[in-house]
C-alpha cells in the first residue's frame, strides 16, 4: 500500500450506503482530483464505492432480535472484526495523512479508535435518519471523533459540540 494520503469512508448497506454514495459524489464535485487514495470500509461485500478497494467488516447490529441473541452476535462480530482492524492499522500506519469519515454504522467505532491511535483524524457524520434520538454509534463517536457533524439541525440539542453540515 502507498505511503500517501488515505481517506477511509466507512458505511454499511441500505441508507448508510446511500449517504456514502452522495458524500463521495459531493467530494468529487468539489475537487478536480481526490487528494489521496479512497478506501471503502463496509459491512457487506460488493458495496464499495466505485473504483475503491474494500475492507469488509461484520455488521455489529442484529436487526431482528434483541436480548442475548443480539449480545452474542455483537461479541461474534467484534471478534471477527479484529482481523480487519489489524489491516486498517497496517494501511493507516503507512499513510502520510489519514482521515476516516464515518456516516453511521456501528462497526465504524473500532477502526475509528485505531485511526485515532495511529495519529489520523476521524470525522463522524451522524446518520440522516436521526432527529430527536441518540444512536449508540453517535454516542460513542461523539467521544471518539475529532469532528462530529449532524445532518439535521434538531440534533444540535443532543450533541451541543457538533457542527451542522446540511443533508446528503
Amino acid at each position: 500500500m502507498p505511503s500517501a494520503d488515505v481517506l477511509m469512508l466507512c458505511f454499511g448497506e441500505g441508507g448508510h450506503h446511500a449517504q456514502a454514495r452522495r458524500l463521495y459524489a459531493r467530494l468529487k464535485e468539489s475537487t478536480e482530483t481526490m487528494p489521496g487514495e479512497v478506501v471503502s470500509l463496509t459491512d457487506k461485500a460488493g458495496i464499495a464505492l466505485p473504483g475503491t478497494p474494500e475492507f469488509v467488516f461484520t455488521a455489529l447490529r442484529e436487526k431482528h432480535y434483541g436480548g442475548l441473541r443480539a449480545v452474542g452476535h455483537l461479541v461474534y462480530a467484534l471478534l471477527r472484526n479484529l482481523r480487519q482492524a489489524f489491516r486498517i492499522f497496517q494501511l493507516g500506519g503507512c499513510a502520510r495523512r489519514l482521515l476516516l469519515v464515518s456516516v453511521g454504522p456501528a462497526f465504524a467505532v473500532l477502526p475509528a479508535v485505531i485511526v485515532r491511535l495511529i495519529g489520523g483524524q476521524v470525522v463522524h457524520v451522524e446518520t440522516w435518519s436521526r432527529f430527536t434520538t441518540y444512536s449508540v454509534t453517535g454516542r460513542l463517536m461523539y467521544r471518539i471523533a475529532d469532528h462530529f457533524l449532524v445532518q439535521n439541525e434538531e440534533l444540535l440539542a443532543l450533541y451541543p459540540r457538533a457542527t451542522y453540515c446540511g443533508r446528503l
Partner: protein, 159 residues
C-alpha cells in the same frame, strides 16, 4: 386502476408485505419484499432489485418503510408516498424519521396498518393527503473534509 409499489428496502417487513398481498379492488400492487422465499398470493413481487427507481416512476403511490435512503430518494423525486415505520426491527429508530416526515407533512405516515380495513382504503387516503414539497439544505462541508485530508486542518471557514 391505481398503481401501487410497496418497498421495504434491505430488511424484512412481513406485516407490511402481507397487508398489501390481499385482494385490492382498483389497485395494481407490486411488492419489493426482501424475502427470497416468499411468493405473493394476490400481488406481484420480487425480493430485491439492483434499482427500484423504475418502479417509483411507474407507481401512482409508493408505500415505503421509513428507511432514510428510500424516503429521501422518493421525497426528492416528489413522489406521492406513504411512510410506514418498520417496528418489526429490534431497534425502533424508523419512528424518528417517520415523526419528522409527519411533522413537516411531507407525506402520509401510517404507524398502524390495522387502522385501515383494506388496501384501497389506505391508498384512497394517500391520494387525498395534502402534502408539502420537500426542501433541504444540501450538504456543505465537502471542502472542510477535503481540507482535513490536504492540509491536516480544516479551511478557515470550517469548524
Amino acid at each position: 386502476m391505481t398503481k401501487v409499489f410497496v418497498t421495504v428496502g434491505t430488511t424484512r417487513f412481513s406485516s407490511l408485505v402481507r397487508f398489501f398481498d390481499q385482494v385490492a379492488v382498483g389497485c395494481d400492487v407490486v411488492l419489493q419484499h426482501a424475502e427470497p422465499a416468499f411468493v405473493p398470493t394476490h400481488a406481484r413481487g420480487f425480493a430485491f432489485a439492483p434499482s427500484v427507481r423504475e418502479w417509483h416512476a411507474w407507481a401512482d403511490v409508493v408505500v415505503t418503510h421509513a428507511g432514510a435512503g428510500s424516503v429521501y430518494d422518493l421525497l426528492e423525486q416528489q413522489r406521492r408516498i406513504v411512510v410506514v415505520p418498520n417496528l418489526e426491527r429490534a431497534d425502533k429508530h424508523q419512528l424518528d424519521l417517520a415523526g419528522y416526515v409527519e411533522r413537516q407533512r411531507y407525506a402520509m405516515v401510517v404507524k398502524q396498518l390495522s387502522s385501515y380495513p383494506s388496501v384501497p382504503d389506505l391508498i384512497n387516503a394517500a391520494l387525498r393527503f395534502d402534502s408539502v414539497s420537500y426542501k433541504k439544505t444540501a450538504f456543505f462541508k465537502a471542502d472542510f473534509l477535503l481540507g482535513l485530508l490536504r492540509d491536516g486542518n480544516p479551511p478557515a471557514a470550517g469548524r
